[in-house]
Structure formats: C-alpha cells, structure tokens
C-alpha cells in the first residue's frame, strides 16, 4: 500500500521535479496523531488511482501542469478524448502533500466518461467536500481544479491548431 504512494513520488522525482517533503507530511499516515485525515483522503493517498502518463504529443491528449516546485506542489493531469469528445482515459502525476495526491486521484476518477464541458463543471468545492479536506488543505483541491482546466485548455488549443491546419 505504501509502495504505491512512494511510486507517485518516485515518478515525480524521475520526471525532474525537485524532491521536497511538505510540512506536516508525517501527520498524514500516522494514526492517532493530533491531526487526522478523513478515510477518503487516506484511501486515495495510499491507493492512488490512475497514476501515470499519456503521450503528450498525441492530438487527442490534453496535458495540464500546474503548481510550482518551490511551493512543494506540482500536479500533472492528462486526459484522452475519443471522436465524440468523451474522456476515455485520465492519468496524473502529483508531487506534493497527501491532500494534493488524493485531490488529483479523485479528479481523474471523476473525469472518465465525461465530456469536456462536464469536466469544466467540476469545482474545487466538490473535491474538497468528497475528501473532507481540512480548511488549510482547500488549496490542494483548487490545484486539482486548475489542473483539469489547464488540461482542457491544452486539448482545445491542440484541436484549434488541428482545425486551422485542416483549413490551410
């Protein structure tokens, strides 16, 4: 269980992100400590869904990269759409705190099967409510929302370029 969580960080490190443990790191997994997280966060943190990468050069893949290594949170979220514009696949790599990992994990789960328009309707408050994020961690859910938007925007710009190329 723990190895999967480590893999996320190993993947992030391998892709060139600076490795830096955020403050409060030990508070996530340790049970019985002063700060305890909701089981939904712990579940997604220990068993993150859809960790990985898609080919970012694929015209049907949108990539969103948000956050800053200096701040301790970097999130990469990718979506692949079919001809109908429905999302068939979604992957993420997050380097950051447990809440950031859980937020992006939940986001990728929710994206599958949705249209691009429906994706844009996912709000940070939905993610925060589902994970029962503590007040100070609301920023992590916002990062996930930003990542979704960035991925959709990237896809839209690719499609736009494609359309222009077809016209020309």
């Amino acid at each position: 269980m723990l190895s999967q969580a480590i893999r996320v960080n190993a993947a992030a490190t391998a892709s060139g992100f600076v490795r830096r443990l955020p403050r409060g790191w030990t508070g996530i997994a340790v049970t019985g400590s002063r700060r305890t997280y909701h089981e939904n966060i712990v579940d997604h943190y220990e068993n993150p869904r859809n960790v990985g990468s898609l080919d970012k050069t694929d015209p049907n893949v949108g990539t969103g990269l948000v956050g800053a290594p200096a701040c301790g949170d970097v999130m990469k979220l990718q979506i692949r759409v079919d001809e109908d514009g429905k999302i068939t696949e979604s992957k993420f790599k997050t380097f950051g705190c447990g809440s950031a990992i859980a937020s992006s994990s939940v986001a990728t789960e929710w994206l599958k099967g949705k249209t691009v328009e429906e994706c844009m309707a996912i709000k940070n408050t939905d993610i925060a409510a589902h994970l029962k994020l503590p007040p100070v961690k609301l920023h992590c859910s916002m990062l996930a929302e930003d990542a979704i938007k960035a991925a959709v925007k990237d896809l839209a710009s690719k499609k736009g370029t494609e359309a222009r190329a077809a016209v020309a």
């Binding site: 800053a68 940070n124 925060a128 609301l138």
Partner: protein, 184 residues
Amino acid sequence: MTSISVAQVSQAVAGAARPSKVPWGPYRKPLSNSQQQVCPRSPFYCAQATLFSHFVSSSSRTNAEEVQNQGGFPTERDFHLVADETLDEVQASVDALEDVVEDYEANLSQGVLNIGMGPHGTWVLNKQTPNRQIWWSSPLSGPLRFEYDVATKMWVTTRGRRELFALLREEVKRVAGIDIRTRT
C-alpha cells in the same frame, strides 16, 4: 630625533590620506575609479539614497518577471515584515468577535493564522513564502491567494483583484452580523 620621527609620521599620515600629487594642482590628474568610489559623501546623502532605494527598488527593476517572482518585495525579509504585520492586523480586527461568535478562537503562530468560528467553520490565513503570497482559506469563499500590491500597499487576490480586508469585513458581516474595523 624625536621631532624628526614625529615629522616623518605626520608626513606619512598625510601621504596616506591623499595622493602624493596634490589634486588641486594645475596639472590635475583625473581620479581613478577606485579613488572616486572611496570619495566620502555626506552621511545625509547616503542615508537618503539608501531609504530611497528601499522604496523604489521594485519600480527600478527592469525585469518584469523578477518583480513577479519577488511579489514586489526586494527581499524575503521585507515580505515577512509586511505579511506578519498584515496577519497581526487581521487577528486584531477579528478579536471583536470574541463576545459575538460562539466558540470563537484565533491563534497566530509561525505565520499561520487560524480563526475558528465554531459552527461557521474555520478560516486559515498563512504566509506562502516561496511565492511571496498570503493564502486564505474560508468556508464561504474557499481557497484564495493574495499578492501584495506595492502601489496601494494592499493585499489583493491573484484572480479578480479583491482586497483582503474588504473580503474579511464582508465575510464577518455574513457570519456574525457585525461590522468590524479594519485599516482599509
């Protein structure tokens, strides 16, 4: 002997203090760069220059990106000074809620201000030093990031340019139904 040595010493001192060729002579040699740099200025001028540079340093920066990264602060210490003062002010402003809100609790430590409003939830303001911002988390408006506007000396949100204290007053009004006094 004694008198000679005194003369020698005074000559040596004079020699050290100024160049052997008198600078005000008819064939004045131009001062070298190093001599110009050690040329004393009036202390007032120096103090003024230092103060001035402190306040205008952000505008004198030519690299816009650098200003962006520095958040308008010349150094990290400047950021801490302003941000700590701001968090203190926020805490002082909401202390009036002590008698109004049930289970009110405000605690500022290590750059993190927790404001517990009992049934209404918890507000958290914290310094985000790497990008020189103040992060705000509220049950009403959610997560927001504030950056310092040097021109107006106010903290405004990165999206929408909302001012920190105005937002604070608004949310306190909604939660507790009272107007609080703030600086801005």
